[in-house]
């Protein structure tokens, strides 16, 4: 112990900025983030249903907003968030039955979660744009 000043300038415990993010950590944060986004995203479904129940005028307005480029962009993001949280939930079910806890299994599940959500979202929109 040379002096007390050296102790004060020592780094504190490692935090996010010096941490190499494991893929499981990123998916854990994304699961919470997407859950929070879906929480407010329910307002999109609520607005659509309430407008439909209110009458043709209100419904036209909501339809126009959702069908605009900005609306479609939001819906695209919403669909990815939904699919990502859905797949993340299935990942939790795997753990709930006691499976998938080894290092390779957790890493693969996490990668599958992210890759699956992106692929499914793109496929969904491709199908919608092609067949609708």
């Amino acid at each position: 112990m040379a002096d007390a000043g050296a102790k004060a300038s020592r780094p504190l415990s490692p935090h996010l900025q010096v941490y190499r993010w494991p893929v499981t950590m990123l998916m854990s944060i994304l699961h919470r983030f997407t859950g929070g986004a879906l929480y407010f995203g329910t307002l999109l479904l609520a607005a659509w249903l309430i407008a439909a129940a209110s009458g043709p005028r209100a419904f036209e307005i909501v339809n126009a907003i959702y069908g605009s480029w900005f609306g479609l962009l939001v819906l695209f993001g919403y669909s990815w968030v939904l699919i990502h949280h859905l797949l993340g939930g299935l990942r939790h079910f795997v753990w709930d039955v006691g499976a998938g806890f080894s290092k390779p299994a957790r890493d693969n599940l996490a990668r599958l979660n992210l890759l699956g959500s992106i692929v499914l979202t793109v496929l969904l929109w491709a199908a919608v744009l092609l067949f609708r």
Binding site: R32, G35, G36, L38, Y39, T42, L43, L45, A46, W48, L49, I50, A52, A53, G55, P56, F59, E60, N63, Y66, G67, S79, L82, L86, G89, L90, H92, F93, D96, V128, R132
Partner: protein, 123 residues
């Protein structure tokens, strides 16, 4: 009369057991099933004229899955958001946030269910 062991069995240190954990899993299963059905319905109806959408939403097999998703969804999201609040908000603001959370869940659930029922039973 219960023995000391019988009283604490399954309760854990939170004194209230694993009800919330279980309810989150249960509603998660419901959500997984009914969100896929609802997504299909919404995609099929997106951009369609009002009369056509109303006619479709009137059908019980269309309204029911959406209704079940709404109930299961707001329970699930209320538990999830409470978890987030309890992690990051403390003291007085926490109480406010927890109350606001329930308020939001009830508001979303009640208004969407009301809209759905209004359409089902005639606008």
């Amino acid at each position: 009369m219960k023995t000391a062991l019988g009283r604490v069995r399954g309760l854990g240190s939170a004194k209230s057991g694993t009800d919330t954990f279980w309810l989150q899993r249960l509603t998660g299963v419901f959500n997984a099933v009914f969100v896929v059905i609802t997504l299909g319905i919404v995609i099929a109806l997106a951009g369609r004229p009002h009369a056509e959408v109303i006619a479709a939403l009137r059908h019980p097999l269309v309204a029911l899955p959406i209704g079940i998703l709404i109930v299961s969804g707001v329970i699930h999201m209320r538990i999830g958001m409470k978890e987030i609040i309890e992690d990051y908000v403390h003291g007085g603001p926490k109480v406010l946030a927890v109350v606001a959370n329930t308020f939001f869940a009830v508001l979303v659930g009640a208004s969407t269910l009301f809209a759905l029922l209004k359409i089902s039973f005639g606008v």
